[in-house]
């Protein structure tokens, strides 16, 4: 398994209060789990303890299709972390999910870091498992379809 970014950045772990645990557990199983209100069916992201629409506390996480479109993007050149000192440019994308269009997710766009990045282009998720790392974790990356 190759990784998009060089190793050494802080690794994601579930929040100590448990708020986003189902998301990270889902990624480990190649599933994209997004928060949804059971009362009004509204999608919500990032996760919160209450539904911002109807104020229900009855929230769950539902699996959604790991597909979307590029809503915005950036190509980073200047490393602000020592792990990226020899990285060269890399692309971060903000992806609007197809099944829950009010939800946006941050990830990297796989492929040539100097490619032209088309806003509105369709992308599909790639689950980047870091099984030999401590702690074990999974990143959600994206590639053009």
């Amino acid at each position: 398994m190759s990784y998009y970014l060089k190793l050494g950045l802080p690794k994601p772990v579930p929040a100590p209060d448990g708020l986003d645990a189902p998301f990270w557990e889902g990624l480990a199983e190649d599933k994209l789990m997004i928060q949804r209100c059971r009362a009004c069916q509204r999608w919500q992201w990032g996760p919160e303890w209450i539904c911002h629409g109807c104020h229900s506390f009855d929230l769950t996480f539902e699996e959604v299709e790991p597909k979307g479109v590029i809503y915005s993007h950036e190509r980073v050149w200047h490393p602000v972390h020592p792990a990226l000192n020899n990285q060269g440019p890399y692309i971060v994308v903000l992806v609007e999910l197809a099944q829950s269009p009010s939800v946006r997710i941050v990830g990297n766009l796989l492929g040539d870091p100097e490619q032209t990045i088309p806003i509105g282009a369709e992308v599909a998720a790639v689950f980047e498992h870091h099984l030999d790392d401590d702690p074990v974790h999974t990143l959600l990356q994206w590639q053009l379809t």
């Binding site: 994601p12 919160e48 915005s72 980073v76 602000v80």
Partner: protein, 392 residues
């Protein structure tokens, strides 16, 4: 409008320490804060013991109670902190100070900000730790961690939606550097910028070249506010607060880049309140200080404050248009955060007052209405308008 701040308070004095490059201040951050406050009182011609309120923002580390003890103040009546990071609270701290004075909670409030990054660490670097949780667990592992990286995402979307060209960002940067060359306080005084130097500078994160990004600095700045009844006690011409507002739009703080209205400087809901309170509109503003964390934020701020339409950016944002004395909208006349000093924007409020006092190093002729836009793209943001005697 009920509860207006218009004309209720005035600026008695302003001051800053020497502005230093990041990490180069010879003094402790708290000492810098004290120095700026004492100098601002001297500028007003009052004793620092007259201060009865402290108002700051961005989690300033110089605690109000320690300041009050250090200055020997007998009756501290206001210890106020505007929530939120970056410079979004600059004018918000002024609004809070003014509200306290206007309602009799306090009589003499200092608004201040102090920064010594050598002592306390930088803004523009990512965290060096093994794990990360919470909102940043969803961004930092993808290499999105610095302010430039957080905000470039918004600016790229805005530029895409409105077909804005890089030249518009460049003009904002050139205007700040241009004005700094006349301002001896500016850290970039004597270090001019031209189109070629801008174009040849490295990318930080597209669309930001190096010169689209603010400096990081050490220093402190302070402003003394009192009731408008006292405006003529001081050596300066009267400078009144005409308006100051803070806030942000619907779910501006939704985590992980999920604000429904995303490609925005976050001022759309503030602008009507700002102009209504001041009883002015964009065309009445003689000179503008607009917080540059990054030039793209200035671009969106100026659009949202109705100086031009989103579709007009490429024509409006030119060096000629943004510089004194001939520009339609003289912008960041001290050099701003890019070229004077990054004091989380409080220097912009001081410069706005100096324009009314006729003390700017890039003085706009007949400046009567002087505006500050504080901290675009964060939440909450804020803005303020100052006016001369003639505007009341």
């Amino acid at each position: 409008m009920s509860g207006t701040l218009r004309g209720k308070v005035c600026v008695a004095g302003v001051a800053e320490t020497t502005y230093y490059k990041r990490g180069e201040a010879p003094d402790a951050e708290f000492k810098l804060a004290l120095e700026a406050i004492v100098k601002a009182c001297e500028n007003a011609g009052i004793s620092a013991k007259e201060i009865d309120g402290f108002s700051s923002f961005s989690n300033d580390r110089s605690d109000a109670s320690r300041l009050s003890a250090a200055l020997g103040i007998h009756d501290m009546r206001l210890a106020n902190m505007q929530w939120g990071g970056g410079g979004g609270g600059g004018s918000g701290a002024i609004a809070n100070a003014a509200a306290a004075i206007a309602t009799g909670q306090a009589e003499c409030v200092v608004v201040f900000r102090a920064l010594a990054q050598g002592q306390f660490g930088r803004f523009g670097q990512g965290p060096q730790r093994n794990t990360i949780s919470g909102e940043f667990a969803h961004t930092i592992p993808y290499g999105l961690m610095s302010p430039a990286q957080m905000f470039a995402m918004k600016v790229n979307r805005f530029m895409y939606e409105n077909n804005v060209k890089q030249d518009a960002l460049r003009a904002i940067s050139l205007a700040s550097y241009h004005h700094a060359q006349n301002n001896p306080r500016a850290v970039m005084h004597g270090r001019p910028l031209d189109e070629k130097k801008y174009e040849n500078s490295r990318w930080i994160v597209e669309p930001f070249h190096l010169y689209d990004c603010c400096q990081e600095n050490d220093g402190a700045a302070a402003m003394i506010f009192v009731s408008a009844d006292r405006a003529k006690e001081f050596d300066h011409p009267p400078c009144y607060l005409l308006s100051a507002v803070a806030g942000s739009h619907h779910r501006a703080g939704a985590p992980v880049h999920n604000a429904p209205d995303y490609a925005t400087s976050a001022f759309k809901t503030l602008v009507p309140r700002l102009y209504d309170m001041a009883k002015v509109k964009a065309g009445d503003i003689d000179v503008l200080q607009s917080y540059e964390n990054f030039t793209g934020g200035v671009l969106m701020s100026i659009v949202e404050h109705e100086f031009c339409l989103p579709s007009e950016c490429n024509e409006f944002f030119t060096l000629e248009n943004l510089t004194n004395p001939n520009g339609k909208l003289p912008l960041n006349t001290s050099g701003g955060n890019l070229a004077e000093c990054y004091m989380h924007g409080l220097g912009l409020n001081i410069e706005a007052v100096r324009q009314i006092w006729r003390e700017s190093s890039n003085q706009v002729d007949n400046a009567e209405v002087s505006m500050v836009i504080s901290g675009p793209m964060v939440t909450p943001v804020s803005a303020s308008i100052f006016g001369s005697e003639a505007t009341l």
